[in-house]
């Protein structure tokens, strides 16, 4: 695990394809070089941050330091499955259809 990358990261075509696969976004082969160069330019902005002293600072996820609100575990909503499935691209008998997953 690299804790502090030493200098501006440079993502190449191969790395962009790896990230795109993680994000489940297809990138056309003739576009990956351009995407890689733009992403590299964006990652270059992060140098100032790498140089900042954040030793001992607690990470902040919520600007008010709020924690997750809890409520009683009771049903508050009605079942509107038909409404929600009416806008789905493909459904059958109340089920969402996707290409065959198990051979």
């Amino acid at each position: 695990m690299s804790d502090t990358p030493s200098s501006s990261p440079c993502v190449d075509r191969e790395e962009i394809e790896k990230i795109a696969e993680l994000a489940r976004i297809r990138i056309a082969a003739d576009q990956s070089d351009e995407v890689a160069s733009r992403i590299t330019r964006i990652l270059g902005m992060f140098d100032t941050l790498q140089a900042a002293d954040t030793e001992g600072v607690a990470p902040m996820a919520n600007p008010l330091d709020a924690t997750q609100a809890l409520r009683p575990d009771t049903v508050t909503e009605g079942n509107r499955r038909d409404d929600f499935q009416a806008i789905a691209p493909a459904v059958e008998n109340g089920l969402y259809l996707v290409p065959k997953v198990i051979e």
């Binding site: 990230i19 297809r26 964006i42 270059g44 100032t48 902040m60 600007p63 929600f84 691209p89």
Partner: protein, 487 residues
Amino acid sequence: MHDQTVAQLARALRDKQFSSLELTEHLLRRIGQLDGQLNSFITVTDEQALDAARRADEALASGRAGPLTGVPIAHKDIFCTRGVRTSCGSRMLDNFVPPYDATVVRQLSDAGTVSLGKTNMDEFAMGSSNENSYYGPVKNPWNAALVPGGSSGGSAAAVAAGLVPAATGTDTGGSIRQPAAFCGITGLKPTYGRVSRLGMVAYASSLDQGGPMARSAEDCALLLNAMAGHDPADSTSTRRDVPDYCADLERPLDGLRIGLPKEYFGEGLNAATGECIQAALKELESQGATLVEVELPNSQLTIPTYYIIAPAEASTNLSRYDGVRYGHRCADPQDLHDLYTRTREEGFGDEVKRRILVGTYALSAGYYDAYYKKAQQARRLIRDDFLACFESVDIIAGPTTPGPAFGIGEKTADPVAMYLEDVYTLAVNLAGLPGMSVPAGFVDGKPVGLQLIGQHFDEGRLLNVAHRFQQVTDWHNRTPELAGGTA
């Protein structure tokens, strides 16, 4: 009618000077005549608007009218509207018709407002120029060669052009304040958690906040009164009581301490913009405020911190668009992987893809500590800088943007040049503070915005200061000239 503020229109409606139906018909006609030049609306809901106007007129006739009854508004197309397409500016949601209303939409409808439709925006609220919309760019009503700002560019342009007196917006890094500044209107981003996010399509959930955009601070106060409040369906919405935001508008500014961050007045600020801001500050000083220089020493960390945290949150939020449950789905998927990857390739535009990729990178194994965790630590430093300032000042003021509106196409080639446009607004979202943009002059015919930043939940003070400023200035009443509109 279209030159009037929400407050003036509401009064005229109650005084029966005209009906909500007449007002609504007038504005729908203006949209039909003028919006071809601007592209500020994605969807105009004529019939629903006329129905709502008739209902409002009944309420007005029977004495059941509230402060907003019969007033036309528009919603940024990020807010879910039951039965009305909610595209979020994206091909991905071009066919999405939500089965429910966003809480903000319901609140404003319950308050009797009449929605005229859904306004254009940068795709998934990612952008500072409205050039990232699947539905084409919005033109700035002051000069059609200029951008209106973003991401709430359609709402800002529609209000500035007198197509609608007020509109909703959302602000993740400046998306209410920057377009308000570029179009010469007033916009308020409330404290994080003040307004419900339910039904507001998520971009970066720890930064997103909805708010009002209108001509005046008084109008923003009237709208915020209807929009603010706890929502049991949004676990991050606050349980704090909602004050009457109109109650303190007239409060004198004697003794008000205004902090001026020296980092907001240095290199990078357009000189003529800076002069407008200085003149506005002098005006506040002449009303009894004291100007105090303050420091935000971690300001240089703002842009990298934001552009790690927001894309990281976006990459997880936008993983829901999979072509299975709603929205775009690619044709003839070969297998599940092909369904996901091709649906997302086709459905998302370039900037959205870039931010998802940057966010995925920042969250991926081996980089998480160096990027995401580091950014969350820097976020605390940035917020604590503001809290330290607020020990000695009541509000903070400065420019909303480094300069006035730029040209369409001017910054699209370089994503980083575009990101730098948000240098004064991003930190407010990272710190969760309320922020406003208030019209404060013109540079070469282009509007300039004064930014006011308040303490958590101190929206009332910002509205008060902006309102007092607008009592003695008329920048917010200036309107652009558009060819072809009926009077």
